[in-house]
């Protein structure tokens, strides 16, 4: 089924169709889980969290909670019929409810089900809980010191880093701290559990990974997977935060439904959501780089330390992905990358768009900046000098050959179209005459590997029915979180069957329709589900073709699918008529489709192989201004060239690039997670956690999508994944801020700037600069 030759994309694919739910979004008719009309007798579930970061629970008296008005059930670890664990990778370290030991501030201790949400919350406040404090490790630094890890470290190597460093004419070492990030999906975590016969459970959920929710609910309830059905119509945003993090609330809703025999809804309040669910991992990156007089890298050693929180969750793959992207687009000769996975008494961190990749890249771009300042050249020159090249400069630190690199071309193009050189001069001139406001400029590349690095996850299934009226029911394992997956896959199916899009009903992801699915993650949703749905559609088309040929007495080759019509020699019937005929002649009108990503294989023991089918590329120039008296910053202009292959839907892809960029900008600027000395998250609501607002999106924003020649790999219609990569384009914003600060001593010093570059960090960096011509007292 793998089409090696490019497919022309007539019909539906390749067009900028609006999001399939666009109309329902604007009218408010699109139903999110909390909008589903409340079933009679619904109970609302609230989880009460620990008030300590690390402690033994010596007493938990819930009598007053049980006695409170409206309370129908109180659930503790002891009430769990099955297994009290929802660790997604079998590490057995993620309790649903803490059992005697609390490991982060806010960790759920017990749950209350009541007739109203206010009653459930009010009742939870009546608990008496006593603790015996244990020493808490709150930062990555402390964890490194104490050797507190959730998993073993991992190393990637090529060449001889030690020797390379010794031999290099120049050598710089340093550290950058990279902050985490809250997903801040607008729709909080939510699940609605409906109890059925045999103790079965149907769960309507906002999850990127219905199969995981299904298995977790079954395990915790002591059911088999076939007793649990999980349905996901749409999510109000997810960004990785609903890959493993949806399960706990689904499980608690199911436990409450089990305990009360009534439907149960668990809908996390924003503060609880931010306190109780995982975020992007913060990292520490230490680098030691050797390079020649021009700035070409000869050797590098990285020590990464990821802040995993109290449990492993997906930290293994996330930390690995940081390592996989510690080269970004650059050839690293003689390289050694180590990553420690630190255990801290904070919420367990998890997936977030980019999945570790962004942290690796931020470190790499800082290294480039270090080299540039040392050799006295524009960082862009250093970038171009170190890009992957041909033979001899095309193997990654994990021994995969880069075959599809387009960064040199993209960079040359963007440098020209963005007037990089001219603006560099203008900015220098501006900065000379402006003592308070300083401007900065940076161009940074993105090379992002596409595929799950856990190879077995690279599989997908689909189910397509054609009904006798010619209408089509489309289902697959991917979930819709706003990224436009559903419309893209529908476009693929419409294209395949040569029918109009409105013939296709896009249906909720449902574990009873397509089983054993992978999460919709790793940017692979369209690549995999598009292929699976295409396969199902091809099967149906093959059957219809064979039937039509026999029925009309022509060769199969003479059967032609035209838009909503089918021709067979001199006969032509409507698609619906053909379907009806096929049915009457007992042709099966339902088919499944399956896809497994080809070519990939990776040996983690050796840290070598081909973990990715291909890479996605993009480049971005950002210009910023900073206020050296307050540390405030503002993005003034952004130019992006991003490669999407032959786009299935350019409108959707633009949205992904713009939205990803702004999200990345927030990560690196205003979005600061702050814990106090007790391990309490201080930034647990939008009042204190600041994602970009409308005004932060600069007016001068120039975005060009590239890729008409198509992906060189045989992806669906030769498109390229677009979900995650654009987020990392925003590293140019961080680099531009650093550039603006660096202007203070005429670009000799790399500012001591960590991420996110909040006003406070920028001002500190400004104040830490050696006095130079541009610096004011």
């Amino acid at each position: 089924m793998d089409n090696a030759t490019p497919v022309e994309a007539p019909g539906a694919a390749g067009r900028p169709h609006p999001h399939d739910s666009g109309r329902k979004h604007v009218t408010g008719e699109a139903l999110f889980v909390d909008d589903i009309p409340a079933p009679a007798d619904l109970v609302y579930v609230h989880a009460a969290g620990s008030e300590r970061a690390h402690a033994r629970v010596t007493r938990m008296d819930l009598d007053r909670v049980r006695a409170a008005g409206g309370v129908r059930a109180v659930i503790t670890a002891g009430d769990i019929p099955g297994v009290n664990d929802i660790s997604p990778t079998g590490t057995d370290d993620d309790p649903v409810l803490a059992d005697g030991l609390v490991q982060f501030h806010g960790q759920p201790l017990f749950a209350v089900a009541a007739d109203t949400m206010r009653q459930a919350r009010a009742a939870a406040r009546l608990a008496t809980v006593e603790y015996e404090d244990l020493p808490a490790i709150l930062t990555i630094e402390e964890a490194l010191e104490e050797k507190s890890f959730v998993l073993d470290p991992h190393t990637m190597r090529r060449g001889d880093a030690d020797k390379g460093l010794q031999d290099a004419p120049h050598r710089i070492s340093g550290r950058i701290r990279i902050g985490g990030q809250e997903q801040f999906y607008l729709e909080g975590q939510v699940s609605l559990a409906l109890p059925g016969e045999d103790g079965d459970m149907v769960v309507q959920c906002s999850s990127q990974h219905p199969a995981d929710v299904q298995h977790q609910v079954a395990r915790v309830l002591g059911l088999r997977a076939n007793g649990v059905t999980v349905i996901v119509r749409r999510m109000g945003g997810a960004f990785g935060g609903k890959e493993t993090q949806a399960a706990q609330w689904a499980v608690l809703a199911a436990l409450a439904a089990r305990a009360t025999g009534r439907p149960a809804k668990m809908c996390l309040d924003r503060d609880d959501d931010m306190v109780m669910t995982g975020k992007r991992h913060p990292f520490i990156a230490d680098y030691d780089v050797g390079f020649d007089d021009h700035g070409r890298i000869q050797a590098i050693k990285y020590m990464f330390a990821s802040g995993c929180g109290f449990s492993a969750d997906l930290s293994a793959s996330i930390s690995d992905r940081a390592m996989f992207h510690a080269d970004n687009g650059y050839y690293l000769d003689n390289v050694e990358i180590v990553c420690h996975r630190c255990k801290t008494n904070t919420v367990s961190n998890t997936a977030f768009r980019g999945f570790g990749g962004p942290q690796g890249m931020v470190a790499m771009e800082r290294v480039i900046e270090e080299i540039a300042r040392k050799v006295g050249r524009d960082p862009l020159a250093i970038r171009k000098l170190n890009y992957y090249g041909g033979e001899g400069r095309n193997v990654t630190p994990y021994h995969m050959t880069v075959e599809d690199n387009v960064l040199p071309e993209l960079t040359a193009e963007l440098e020209r179209t963005s007037d990089y050189g001219k603006r560099r001069d203008e900015i220098a001139a501006f900065n000379r005459t402006s003592p308070v406001i300083k401007r900065g400029l940076a161009l940074t590349p993105v090379k992002f590997g596409i595929s799950f690095t856990t190879t077995f996850l690279n599989q997908a299934g689909a189910l397509v029915h054609i009904y006798t009226d010619g209408s089509i029911h489309l289902n697959h394992g991917g979930t819709e979180m706003g990224q436009g997956l559903f419309i893209k896959v529908a476009q693929v199916v419409a294209d395949e069957l040569r029918v109009s899009l409105d013939r296709i009903k896009i249906t909720a992801t449902d574990t009873a329709k397509v089983p054993n699915t992978s999460p919709t993650a790793a940017s692979s949703g369209t690549d995999m589900n598009g292929k699976a749905a295409q396969a199902a559609a091809r099967t149906l088309k093959g059957r219809l073709r064979a039937f039509a040929a026999g029925h009309f007495g022509v060769d199969e080759a003479e059967v032609e699918f035209r838009l909503d019509r089918v021709g067979a020699g001199k006969h032509e019937v409507s698609f619906a008529e053909l379907v009806k005929l096929a049915y009457l002649n007992r042709v099966q009108l339902s088919a499944t489709g399956f896809y497994r990503t080809p070519k990939i294989s990776y040996d983690r023991e050796k840290a070598a192989g081909r973990p990715f089918l291909y890479f996605s590329y993009g480049v971005c120039v950002s210009e910023v201004a900073i206020d050296t008296l307050t540390g405030e910053s503002k993005v003034l202009r952004v130019d992006i060239l991003h490669e999407v292959g032959r786009s299935l839907n350019p409108a959707i892809d633009r949205g992904q690039v713009e939205g990803g960029f702004i999200q990345g900008m927030g990560w690196l600027t205003s979005e600061e997670l702050w814990w106090d000395s007790q391990g309490r998250l201080g930034t647990h609501a939008p009042s204190t956690y600041k994602i970009p607002a409308c005004g932060d999106r600069c007016e001068d924003f120039r975005l060009t999508l590239l890729g008409e020649t198509g992906n060189r790999e045989g992806t669906i219609h030769r498109s390229k994944a677009v979900g995650e990569p654009p987020l990392m384009l925003a590293i140019s914003v961080f680099q531009a801020i650093s550039d603006a600060v660096s202007s203070l001593d005429d670009y000799r010093t790399v500012p001591g700037l960590d991420t996110p570059a909040t006003p406070e960090r920028i001002l500190n960096a400004v104040n830490g600069m050696p006095a130079g011509p541009g610096k004011k007292p």
Binding site: E187, R234, V436, G482, G682, P686
Partner: protein, 509 residues
């Protein structure tokens, strides 16, 4: 009086075009809860329940004159149900025309691909609806940003929404959908609809206090200062609520109950704003939005500060009286008002007293407000001569963020010397606080860098700021000092850009 003449037949309002009368409802119910749980109207979403994300944005229409209506966006998640009395509530469910056609705003949003996950979308649609109803010309980018600053979108990056805003506001698009369907000229249809609604709302009006007393708690909405005074005298335990942009969060976030609740947002005297002699007198229940122009006309920087308080929805709802009475050390208007020498007028049963605003703030969490007393108005001295007032809000984000530090500088120069100085900071102490040592260090001295250095040093005696999630203590002090430097630069050196937003902006190009 309230006991005898109070109106007890419930909260009366229009939900779209349908009349509602709620007698048996908990006054602590938010409009969002009411919509979603009572009416089953789930188009309006909850994203935060604290006024910060805009997913719950709805429009409240009020009578304007005898024919028209004004449309204001508000955050339904922190607005109490009683605030709807006598008003029309418009939600995303009410925008489509009778024939089911999309409103121009909705159509523009679909066409611009302005929704991805769609969860923020109804809120944006309502903000844009209000914008198209209120805009008299095609809004520029800044206006669009100001209208949308209170709506967060995590998916789109805003570009397509901005495009949709522009599209929807093109004159042709600003048509009344109903009129279009009825084949009438849009302006005429809109005028007719507004007149009709206006009249229906007028019939709901009453000069009497609305009083609810049921199994769910007690609620008063007086219409006059006298009635308010009387209620407070009888029920000193009552909690006053104006815009509820602070008080709403006590319920949604802290699980508190306000009972009895006294809504001051319909007290006529508190809603007035006027010029008396050398003063701008702003009633306690005047919203930020209503006060904005008058204040900006006197002091440009104060106007810019108000533009940056909360966002559109919060400014439509929140009041200056609430900002003061709340007593927060990080309320934005008090430092500016104090620097400008404003006084506060308090009313207790008709007896008035007036005090310098700075004296009202006794210490963190304690204000000079007696039981039964309420804030009536704030008196702001008008500008004399040139507008030398400087005020800077520093936060992590330019829009809808709480200040880490706010510095307000009212410095009068005579012959190059500092003749008078009133300097006040927010975020530096337990209350909004004047920098008296700093003032002393600069008064009488030539307005030079050296004097500024002395003022900077003195600030260390004035303040010992704290560290929290918004900023560290050292940063707060450094910024407080740098803002003095900035005020000096701006008053002595006109040519440099010194700001990233607002005037003296280093605009691109």
């Amino acid at each position: 009086m309230t006991g005898k003449t109070a109106r007890t037949e419930g909260i009366r309002f229009l939900l779209g075009e349908e009349a509602r009368q709620l007698e048996d409802i908990d006054p602590n119910t938010t409009v969002l809860e009411y919509l979603r749980r009572v009416e089953g109207l789930t188009g309006t979403k909850e994203g935060c329940a604290e006024g910060d994300c805009g997913a719950c944005t709805v429009v409240v229409a009020e009578r304007s004159g005898d024919d028209g209506l004004t449309y204001r966006t508000v955050n339904a998640c922190i607005l109490f149900i009683g605030a709807l009395d006598g008003r029309q509530l418009i939600t995303v469910e009410h925008l489509q025309g009778a024939g089911g056609g999309l409103h121009p705003v909705q159509r523009a949003m679909v066409e611009a691909h302005a929704s991805q996950c769609g969860f923020c979308t109804p809120g944006f649609v309502m903000s844009l609806f209000a914008l198209t109803m209120n805009a008299t010309d095609t809004p520029g980018r800044r206006r669009i940003d100001d209208e949308l600053a209170g709506n967060l979108c995590r998916c789109t990056g805003y570009g397509p929404i901005i495009a949709a805003a522009r599209q929807a506001c093109k004159v042709q698009a600003c048509q009344d959908q109903a009129g279009q369907e009825a084949g009438q000229p849009p302006a005429e249809a809109r005028a007719q609809t507004e007149k009709r609604i206006n009249q229906r709302l007028r019939r709901m009006e009453s000069p009497e206090t609305l009083h609810l007393k049921g199994r769910h708690g007690e609620y008063f909405a007086p219409k006059t200062a006298a009635a308010l005074g009387e209620i407070l005298a009888r029920r000193p335990d009552a909690t006053m609520v104006a815009g509820a942009t602070d008080a709403g969060l006590w319920i949604t976030k802290q699980g508190r109950r306000l009972d009895p609740m006294v809504y001051v947002g319909q007290v006529a005297e508190l809603k007035e704003i006027h010029l008396i002699d050398e003063f701008l007198v702003i009633g306690a229940a005047v919203t930020f939005d209503q006060a904005h122009q008058a204040i900006a006309g006197e002091y440009a920087d104060f106007g810019e500060l108000i533009r940056r308080i909360g966002a559109r929805q919060v400014r439509n709802q929140g009041t200056i009286g609430g900002n003061i009475a709340n007593g927060s050390p990080i309320g934005d208007s008090p430092p500016a008002l104090i620097a400008l020498g404003a006084t506060l007028v308090l009313n207790r049963g008709g007896g008035l007293r007036e005090m310098p605003l700075e004296d009202f703030f006794i210490e963190y969490g304690r204000q000079d407000l007696n039981p039964g007393e309420f804030v009536q108005a704030v008196r702001l001295p008008r500008r004399r001569g040139e507008d030398g007032f400087r005020c800077y809000k520093v936060a992590k984000r330019f829009d809808q963020d709480i200040s880490a530090v706010l510095g307000a500088f009212n410095i009068t120069l005579e012959n190059g010397r500092v003749a008078r100085a009133r300097i006040c900071y927010g975020g530096m102490a337990g209350t909004p606080q004047r920098a008296l040592a700093c003032e002393q260090a600069i008064i009488g001295r030539p307005w030079t860098e050296e004097t500024v250095r002395a003022g900077r040093r003195a600030l260390r005696r004035d303040f010992t700021p704290m560290t929290d999630q918004r900023a560290g203590a050292a940063y707060r002090m450094a910024v407080a000092q740098n803002l003095l430097t900035k005020a000096h630069m701006e008053t002595t050196n006109a040519e440099w850009p010194t700001r990233l937003v607002g005037k003296r902006e280093a605009a691109h190009g």
